[in-house]
């Protein structure tokens, strides 16, 4: 075969022909797009950031497959963050102008993200969409994402705190399980009877004053951490003081609640101490159910939270989803959210498996029928309908900072290094400059 060299002229000809061909091909593509069917023309890619772990991602994929089959012009592109990193990543996206269309929103993030122009106000769309039963969502859950009259997200999971109990421990001590009528007296009596020094505590693992926990611990005595406007504390009141003394006396005087060192000895390395089976009673929320099902080695059930001098109170909290303020497809994003967070969506995604308690009553039966939920899970619904409130702070940007001050000092109450009066004094002093700001 003759080895023919390519002359410069031949090379230029070939290059010109290739360039012309490429230009024509591009042009043809544009012409084809112009005459494409309407569904192809309106093709929309919705970017959706969420924190589902690997094991739960197939459920999300199954939902999206179903959704995109019904909406062939839509493609859902997921970004799976880790739970620990999601909040920081969203901030980074916002700073870079790279927000996806839909994001997962923890209840504490509604205010900073809503006021920070990360989230789209979906109130008008929500109320105008006749097919979307927004009134069927628990109002306590919905208001968590309502900032100054703007609705920045729709909750998907919102659960109350109940009294969990180790049935094995109760059976071994021959003590009746907690009932709907249990008061603080019943609780104390049982907690003392169930405590085996060094081995088992009547209640544990800790006494927290976080968003969802303080209504349970302080509310039953009429106390609270924050006032309703979140511009001041209600810790320095007789009610809160009585409540704090009640819980921390049980810890440090009666030794029926585990102190910080005892919790560390049971649940070191980040493990949930409650799963050890060494606590006869404990706080439990619906989001705890999967880990209790998978990891606990004891039989457990749930009861209503106990009543105190101020009646029955407990806290609730949760998470939701919203569209971002920068989405180029707000209608499509809402269309997706309205189905995702409909009764059917909540049943499919979270209720059927028992992963989370749906934020609407109509979807609750699927949760109650889930194979992993404890026997008396209807008490969760009962609490949501009757006495659970969304715990503060969730309305102010400075709220989380004050909550950190409270939490720091609660750890000292837990170690026994300060008493209740010092706790209240410390928190009041340390939070004053934050409120002043």
């Amino acid at each position: 075969m003759e080895n023919k060299k390519l002359s410069r002229r031949d090379f230029l000809k070939a290059a010109a022909a290739s360039a012309a061909g490429a230009a024509m091909f591009t042009q043809l593509g544009q012409i084809a797009t112009t005459f494409a069917s309407p569904s192809q023309q309106d093709a929309v890619v919705l970017k959706f950031a969420v924190h589902w772990e690997l094991a739960f991602q197939p459920t999300q994929e199954a939902w999206d497959t179903k959704y995109t089959a019904e909406h062939p012009n839509v493609t859902i592109e997921k970004i799976y963050n880790t739970w620990a990193d999601h909040n920081a990543i969203v901030l980074t996206w916002a700073a870079a102008g790279e927000l996806p269309d839909i994001v997962y929103i923890h209840g504490t993030r509604a205010v900073p993200w809503g006021k920070g122009d990360i989230l789209l106000d979906i109130k008008d769309r929500m109320e105008a969409d006749k097919a979307f039963d927004w009134e069927g969502i628990f109002q306590e859950a919905l208001r968590l994402y309502n900032v100054d009259g703007h609705q920045f997200a729709i909750p998907y999971d919102h659960g109350p705190i109940l009294l969990g109990y180790n049935k094995d421990a109760f059976d071994a001590a021959k003590i009746d399980y907690p009932t709907e009528k249990w008061t603080t007296d019943d609780f104390v009596k049982a907690a003392k009877a169930l405590t085996i020094p060094g081995q088992q505590w009547g209640f544990g693992a800790d006494v927290s004053l976080g968003n969802e926990s303080y209504p349970a611990h302080l509310g039953i005595f009429g106390g609270a951490t924050f006032n309703d406007k979140e511009d001041g504390l209600l810790l320095d009141t007789d009610e809160s003081r009585t409540a704090l003394n009640f819980w921390f006396d049980l810890m440090h005087k009666d030794h029926v609640i585990s102190d910080a060192a005892e919790i560390a000895s049971v649940g070191a390395g980040g493990a949930d101490a409650r799963l050890s089976g060494q606590f006869a009673m404990f706080r439990i929320a619906t989001w705890d159910i999967p880990s209790f099902h998978d990891l606990s080695t004891f039989k457990y059930d749930v009861a209503p939270w106990i009543s105190g001098p101020a009646g029955q109170h407990t806290g609730s909290f949760g998470s939701g989803f919203g569209a971002t303020a920068t989405t180029k497809h707000p209608d499509e994003a809402w269309a997706y959210l309205s189905e995702y967070l409909s009764k059917e969506g909540m049943e499919f995604m979270w209720a059927k498996s028992g992963r989370g308690s749906p934020a609407r009553e109509a979807a609750y039966q699927a949760f109650l029928d889930a194979p992993i939920v404890p026997e008396h899970s209807q008490y969760f619904l009962d609490a949501m309908k009757n006495y659970a409130v969304t715990g503060h702070p969730y309305q102010t940007v400075t709220g989380p900072e004050v909550l950190t001050v409270i939490t720091d000092n609660v750890t000292l109450l837990g170690t026994g290094e300060i008493d209740v009066d010092t706790f209240i004094k410390n928190v009041t002093e340390q939070s004053a400059p934050i409120f002043a700001r």
Binding site: V266, A268, E401, L412, G414
Partner: protein, 305 residues
């Protein structure tokens, strides 16, 4: 040379080397300016605003710095904790790394395996190590308190005690001496044997050899290790996050942990940027101080021409 363009061949050898030098460092330089230098400058500008990390971005001048230094009740707590941790981990970490390096410098069978084993922790995930130490310090079932119990000592409640949480973190920091040990080992092996022989002829014992040969000859390496450890220790974060979350109370709230809280929990990105700059200045001042103090102690080898 015929392959080189004519203009290049007209350059002197020095100019050619300079050109090559700049060409080779250019990719790194571009990366540094874009991905490090740019954000560094940006963070300084942000430190002069009240940026929440999202929207609000009003110019506040030096307010963040003034507030930090005069009004923030956490600032001095955080400073005390960070300096406590930094000073203790630099001194203990450097001494332990030196001790291990001396041991690893012995000519005994299996020494290479031992060196690998001592270095191994340094290539393990930081979070995994922190969780493992959480178990080691378990007051009831942890290895540390078990070992103490063998000597009749009742171990403390480590990370749930305001007194012992910081010492616990300092002990955990010693786990990462591997890289320093390797650097010091290389330094030890670079000391000429003739110096030891000369010292022995002069009647030096082991301690004298260490004091008058090893330490002076190793002083530049020791100084380098101390500076690097100091810079790293002032930036401790992940162990605090996993093991103590800054507590109990504020017992282990250190600089970067506080900065992280302000940036990503309290939505005070401008304020956190000011904290980052204050930390940068502290580290620079400390490094400068270490250089000043070390002038007489560190003995660099001078090659006379």
């Amino acid at each position: 040379m015929a392959l080189l363009p004519k203009r290049l061949t007209q350059l002197t050898l020095r100019q050619q080397e300079e050109r090559s030098f700049y060409l080779f460092i250019l990719p790194w330089l571009i990366g540094f300016v874009l991905f490090t230098g740019g954000p560094v400058v940006y963070s300084f500008l942000m430190s002069l605003t009240n940026w929440t990390g999202i929207k609000t971005r009003d110019w506040v001048g030096l307010d963040n710095y003034i507030h930090l230094l005069t009004l923030d009740p956490n600032f001095w707590i955080v400073m005390k904790n960070t300096f406590t941790y930094g000073i203790a981990s630099v001194i203990l970490g450097t001494l332990l790394a030196l001790a291990v390096a001396i041991l690893m410098n012995q000519k005994i069978p299996g020494i290479r395996i031992l060196r690998t084993l001592y270095y191994l922790p340094s290539v393990t995930s930081g979070i995994a190590i922190a969780i493992m130490w959480g178990w080691m310090f378990n007051p009831k079932a942890g290895l540390i308190n078990f070992l103490l119990s063998l000597f009749g000592i009742q171990g403390p409640n480590w990370f749930s005690s305001t007194l012992w949480a910081m010492p616990g973190l300092i002990i955990v920091s010693l786990w990462g001496i591997g890289p320093n040990m390797i650097i010091l080992l290389a330094g030890l092996q670079g000391i000429p044997q003739q110096l030891y022989e000369a010292a022995r002829i002069d009647g030096a014992n082991r301690w004298h050899e260490f004091r008058y040969v090893t330490v002076p000859m190793l002083s530049p390496v020791l100084f380098y290790v101390a500076v690097i450890t100091m810079i790293g220790s002032f930036q401790i974060f992940e162990n605090v996050l996993v093991l103590t979350n800054g507590g109990p109370g504020t017992a282990t709230r250190v600089f970067v942990f506080d900065l992280y809280q302000n940036a990503f929990v309290n939505s005070r990105m401008g304020y956190a940027s000011a904290q980052a700059w204050i930390l940068c200045v502290i580290i620079m001042v400390l490094t400068w101080l270490m250089f000043r103090i070390s002038r007489r102690q560190v003995q660099y080898e001078v090659v006379e021409e």
